[in-house]
């Protein structure tokens, strides 16, 4: 090595710099961001290991398709079958229906807010998000009740009327609604559907500082809650235990 280089220490840069860069890339995400990732990206308990909000969005789309199909038939038995499929996609816990999925999304966003590393943005946003899912939950409850009425209906007219109402509710859950007829769909929380809730979560993410980065699967699926309540990553990658706080 030339004497000049030895004296200035510039020979260190090619050695040290890669190590520094590697450290920057492999720094773990904050616990708050991992909880957000469970809502937005992935979690190992859902179908396809997708994030709770993604599952809720997909299920909302399926519910609308099934409910719309139910309104197309005059065959009472077939109508009842399609409505039953729609309500399963709405309320099933095992199947991560719309209601369960959106509630879990709100729960995990709230857990993010209670993390020691949660930003004020997440703390405030979590509170609002939890409040704003209520209308979607209410529509899910109503779909469930009306589906029971469909199952008990003995006339096609009554069943079709109710199926039509279920389809309207499913559409509102997907797109939002304009109940105050001001020309704006989903203009306020009482009109929210999945589209508006997605936009709200996207807003929380966009305002994060330091910025939110999509959390890698390893971190998403290996978050562990210790007996003392502290969240850590399982270094051995044995899978997380979020079921404990579901």
């Amino acid at each position: 090595m030339p004497a000049e280089s030895r004296r200035s220490g510039s020979w260190l840069a090619p050695v040290v710099l890669p190590l520094v860069l590697a450290a920057c890339v492999s720094r773990p995400p904050s616990i708050a961001h991992v909880h957000l990732g469970h809502a937005l990206t992935g979690v190992h308990v859902t179908p396809g290991r997708q994030g709770y909000l993604l599952v809720a969005e997909k299920q909302a789309e399926d519910v609308y398709t099934l409910a719309a199909e139910a309104t197309q038939t005059a065959d009472l038995a077939l109508l009842k079958q399609r409505v039953q499929a729609a309500v399963t996609a709405t309320t099933s816990k095992e199947g991560f229906g719309v209601k369960h999925s959106i509630v879990m999304a709100a729960n995990h966003i709230s857990f993010a807010a209670t993390s020691p590393d949660a930003s004020p943005n997440v703390q405030q946003g979590a509170t609002e998000f939890a409040r704003n899912i209520v209308r979607v939950v209410e529509r899910c409850e109503l779909i469930d009740l009306l589906a029971m009425d469909v199952a008990a209906a003995s006339s096609v007219d009554e069943a079709q009327l109710l199926a039509g109402e279920i389809a309207k509710l499913a559409k509102s859950n997907r797109d939002g609604e304009d109940t105050d007829q001001d020309g704006v769909v989903g203009g306020k929380p009482a009109e929210y559907g999945m589209k508006q809730l997605r936009a709200e979560l996207d807003g929380i993410i966009a305002r994060e500082n330091p910025p939110y980065r999509t959390v890698g699967q390893w971190y998403l699926f290996n978050l562990v809650k210790l007996p003392n309540g502290v969240w850590v990553f399982d270094k051995l990658g044995r899978g997380g235990n979020i079921e404990g706080y579901q």
Partner: protein, 361 residues
């Protein structure tokens, strides 16, 4: 430091969450514990332990937003204090949870109301209207939906009563006035049918037109009684006559109906006997009225107007001609002797031949 405190914070969070989850509850900010904690903090506003103690007392009293405010006020005095930040974060979470769970419970109730309202307004199901009203008794939209359902199934009198309630809730609502006019029209049509025809449709029309307190209530009860009587429905007829008599005592036709039905019917309860006595008084049959009224008195002395009616019956009975005593029947032996004298006897036969004497040539 933070890691050491985290378990305590979490335990505190879970304990608070248990309070948040068990129905939430109303903020009880006036408790002695909260007042004492307030006083302690007022005396030493810079003290973090006293601020935490107040926040804890407010949480215990279900006053989550107040607890958050208490801790936020502490931020200005103790910026970046890690313990304060942890407590603030957890208390905000508790406050959020309280609102969240209350919201979910409200969503469930709202869904039930919406379902009942739908069945009430779109399917005309009265039970659903009543269920919705149990949850939201002052919701004028549900009251109007119930009135609509009643009009749909031809119960205009019931609809008018329901619309009176709607008017109390929303005196200036034009919808209420419109529906009230519609109900009145429908009731008038039912009344016309009730009076003009004799068939089952007329009976149903009378029942649907019967409005308590209306000027025509007596007429409808009387008409119902006649229609029931034509169908030999004695109990229903008597009930209608009695209702009519209660509204307007002294109607001769009603009185005749009551007397005819109580003569033939098995009912001997106090109310029926009172009605019979009242009807007999209308027909000025005092003794009979008195007998019925005294029987009613023996069964139920506190019936309204009973003493007045007995007094009137006694007064009328005094003016009535007492019935003739019945003729005394003679003893049986005397009857036989009299019968014997009255009937001629056949002469005893003197010939040994049993046959009647006849001409031999």
């Amino acid at each position: 430091m933070i890691r050491a405190l985290a378990p305590l914070g979490l335990l505190w969070l879970l304990a608070g969450a248990a309070h948040a989850h068990d129905g939430g509850g109303v903020c009880a900010a006036g408790t002695p514990a909260v007042s004492a904690a307030h006083a302690a903090l007022d005396a030493a506003p810079e003290s973090l332990p006293k601020r935490f103690a107040l926040a804890d007392a407010l949480i215990q009293a279900n006053c989550y937003p107040e607890a958050v405010r208490t801790l936020e006020e502490g931020e200005a005095l103790h910026p970046r204090n890690p313990d304060l930040q942890t407590r603030l974060r957890n208390t905000r979470s508790l406050s959020s949870e309280q609102t969240y769970f209350a919201g979910l419970e409200e969503a469930e109730v709202a869904a039930r109301v919406s379902r009942n309202l739908l069945r009430c307004s779109r399917l005309g199901e009265l039970n659903a209207c009543d269920e919705a009203l149990k949850l939201r008794p002052d919701d004028v939209q549900i009251v109007l939906a119930k009135a609509d359902a009643q009009l749909k199934i031809n119960r205009p009198a019931d609809a008018e009563v329901t619309l009176r309630r709607a008017r109390q809730l929303a005196p200036n609502d034009a919808n209420v006035s419109t529906k009230t006019a519609l109900a009145q029209q429908q009731r008038q049509a039912a009344l016309n049918l009730c009076k003009r025809r004799e068939d089952d449709a007329a009976l149903a029309a009378c029942q649907s037109a019967l409005l308590r307190g209306a000027a025509d209530e007596f007429d409808v009860h009387s008409r119902l009684a006649q229609l029931h009587q034509q169908r030999n429905e004695s109990a229903a007829a008597l009930a209608s006559y009695v209702a009519a008599d209660a509204l307007h005592a002294g109607d001769r036709n009603v009185a005749l109906g009551i007397v005819a039905l109580t003569d033939a019917g098995p009912r001997k309860d106090a109310v029926t006997l009172l009605a019979r006595g009242s009807a007999l008084l209308t027909l000025e049959r005092g003794r009979e009225a008195l007998a019925a009224l005294r029987q009613a008195q023996s069964l139920s002395p506190s019936l309204p107007d009973l003493r007045t009616l007995i007094g009137r019956a006694e007064a009328i009975a005094l003016t009535e001609v007492p019935p003739k005593p019945a003729a005394v029947a003679p003893p049986a032996a005397a009857v036989q002797v009299a019968e014997a004298r009255a009937t001629p006897t056949v002469a005893a036969r003197r010939y040994s031949n049993a046959a009647e004497p006849s001409r031999s040539h």
